[in-house]
Assembly symmetry: C2
DNA sequence: GTTAGCACTCAATATAATAGAGTGCTAACA
DNA sequence: TGTTAGCACTCTATTATATTGAGTGCTAAC
């Protein structure tokens, strides 16, 4: 599709623009990238590349800038895949070693790591709660009339909630209910708990009438967990270091997007089914307010099933090779950490 | 200290500047605020006020702008206290009614409310975990070799953590340990748990040797909770709507502060002991990067004891009267919500 | 003590001039 | 036929220069 020299010119333009954020002229390319031809020749090639839609000109007397399509071609065909430095890998491993207490903490830490290493804004997403499967429930008696429900899903999400209980119900009753629920709910999809189980619970607990009502209430209200995903952000203000965001209006539209977690999770969920790292460039993100941005994303998970995703958000001019390497390295480690966390060291 | 007319002039300057963000000239005051005197007279008063340090001039041919000291005088002596509109109060109450499941959720919601109503950036802080007192612990058996520790403090914070346990320990053993710990730790300060209890636990469980080691490990590692406060932010990007932040450099220093949770919590913790709403203006915040900002803060709590604080961050030119009213209204409601949440409806 | 009047200051805006980077095209060259 | 030197042209960015206008401080009169 593109002959070797055109590829080289495009590569030079993309690399130079990523590095300098200045439109790239023919002379610069000839000087810096030694393609063995004169600026005039390069100008001809550039005219062709522009006609094909890979680069564009901000105005007549400026150099060329890659278009979304140009970046896409770069990512798909020209980009050299990088690796992290030893130091960076060590940083990641150490962070994970010291934070393996709690899923939320691990994800927050992941967001910070991502942004710290890359200087881009990081987005970390946990999967929709309702998609998980039931793992364990425990109702803990905390005092007269008060109890706490703790619900754990196989994706590692833990929900807790304080509820009121009739004074007549003691710790043993709560244990009974817990046991029955655990038995009945094993492996069920959390989203469907309410629908499927009312009858069964009824039969099981019919003999202990005073406990029954409580259990029913619990299923109706207590398990009505918030089903939203959770989004962790890291390095929000990193984006301000990019020259394309020296204008406050742009920053505003971007930040207001970052506050709408719904939008973000839609974008990232779109790549859950993809293998490995996915890059969405500019308009490919299909969102007006970040049409000048790109996102490098991947999902993490257990046993090959995704339970969440991470993404790096930067200008379309971002360093894709580096972002790609970082996202790749971190997702695979994150998946390991999650498995260890949810299954215990032995397994 | 200031005669009535000077007060009126100062009030006019502060109000006008808060409303317009433009330096206020003598003519504007005479026209808009009908003090019954001519611009020339006002100029004389302004010269006095400037000499006293209440106002300053950005440059010779500009109007006057309140100084930190001017705002301070305004807040202490001139400000009229406002109330929220019915609609706003309703909004707050409704939000709280629908979110009373979980402390974290309530605080996140509070951050959003604050920023939504005021258009300033909201900071919501929970108290230092170690300062709370032990309320309940439960070790839940989740499968062979795996258990979850749930720790609740009287300030409502809940910590959960998955731990490995020896395969030889079954659910009943975990119950035993839970029971002993609950008994021994009742009401103790969480920070001191480790120091005070090792001996006692030892005596209590000496007979059940196989459980003892596990309990010891738990005390040593499992209860070593993260002691940091938690900070919830709302409406970070609201600050961008203020004309004083049209310059990206300022935004950057501010946002980088907002990412340092430590700094923020120090500021807010400083007002935990104060009754009611506290206002810190500009340099009073003692932090270089927000010397052009002010914060309106208050603590919320139970039984008069603070368990956290909230704050509104805006430019020194912020609308103190309104921020004051909002912070006041929301802290008192938040305190109620927290009490209800942690004690159950009846009490 | 108050006020009108006026010269003065200084940022902000508008206007013009200049420099410089980069292009596209043409014509000559290998 | 592909490559290249040369050159006129375009357009932004920068700098220099006027112009405007809000607002002041001071003085002198009321």
């Amino acid at each position: 599709m593109l002959d070797a020299r055109k590829k080289n010119v495009l590569l030079a333009i993309v690399q130079d623009y990523i590095a300098t954020a200045e439109p790239v002229g023919s002379r610069t390319i000839a000087r810096k990238y030694k393609l063995g031809v004169s600026p005039a020749t390069i100008r001809n090639e550039m005219a062709d590349l522009e006609e094909m839609g890979f680069i564009e000109q901000p105005h007549t007397s400026a150099g060329r800038v890659p278009s979304d399509r140009g970046y896409r071609y770069y990512v798909d065909h020209l980009m050299k895949h990088e690796e992290l430095t030893m130091d960076e890998e060590k940083l990641v491993l150490n962070s994970y070693l010291s934070k393996v207490q709690d899923v939320g903490e691990v994800l927050r830490c992941t967001g910070n790591l991502l942004s710290q290493i890359t200087n881009y804004t990081a987005v970390v997403l946990t999967t929709h709660y309702g998609k998980g499967r039931f793992k364990h429930i425990q109702i803990i008696h905390m005092g007269p009339g008060q109890a706490m429900v703790v619900l754990v899903s196989d994706s590692g999400a833990v929900q807790h909630r304080i509820i009121d209980v009739p004074d007549s119900i003691g710790p043993e009753d709560l244990d009974t209910i817990s046991r029955v629920l655990n038995h009945k709910l094993q492996g069920k999809s959390i989203k469907n708990i309410r629908l499927t189980l009312i009858k069964e619970i009824y039969l099981e607990l019919a003999r202990q009438k005073h406990v029954l009502n409580m259990a029913m209430d619990l299923i109706r209200d207590g398990l009505d967990v918030k089903t939203g995903e959770k989004v962790y952000l890291g390095g929000i203000f990193n984006i301000l270091n990019q020259p394309e965001f020296h204008n406050v209006e742009k920053v505003k539209t971007l930040l207001s997007l970052l506050e709408q977690e719904k939008e973000l999770s839609n974008i990232i969920e779109g790549v859950f089914d993809a293998r490995g790292v996915t890059v969405r460039i500019g308009e490919e993100l299909e969102n007006e307010s970040i049409k000048d941005c790109s996102m490098v994303m991947a999902s993490y998970g257990m046993d090959g099933k995704p339970v969440g995703g991470i993404g790096l958000l930067g200008p379309t001019r971002m360093d894709y090779a580096r972002a790609y390497a970082v996202v790749d390295y971190i997702t695979s480690n994150l998946s390991l950490v999650m498995e260890r966390l949810l299954r215990g060291r032995g397994k």
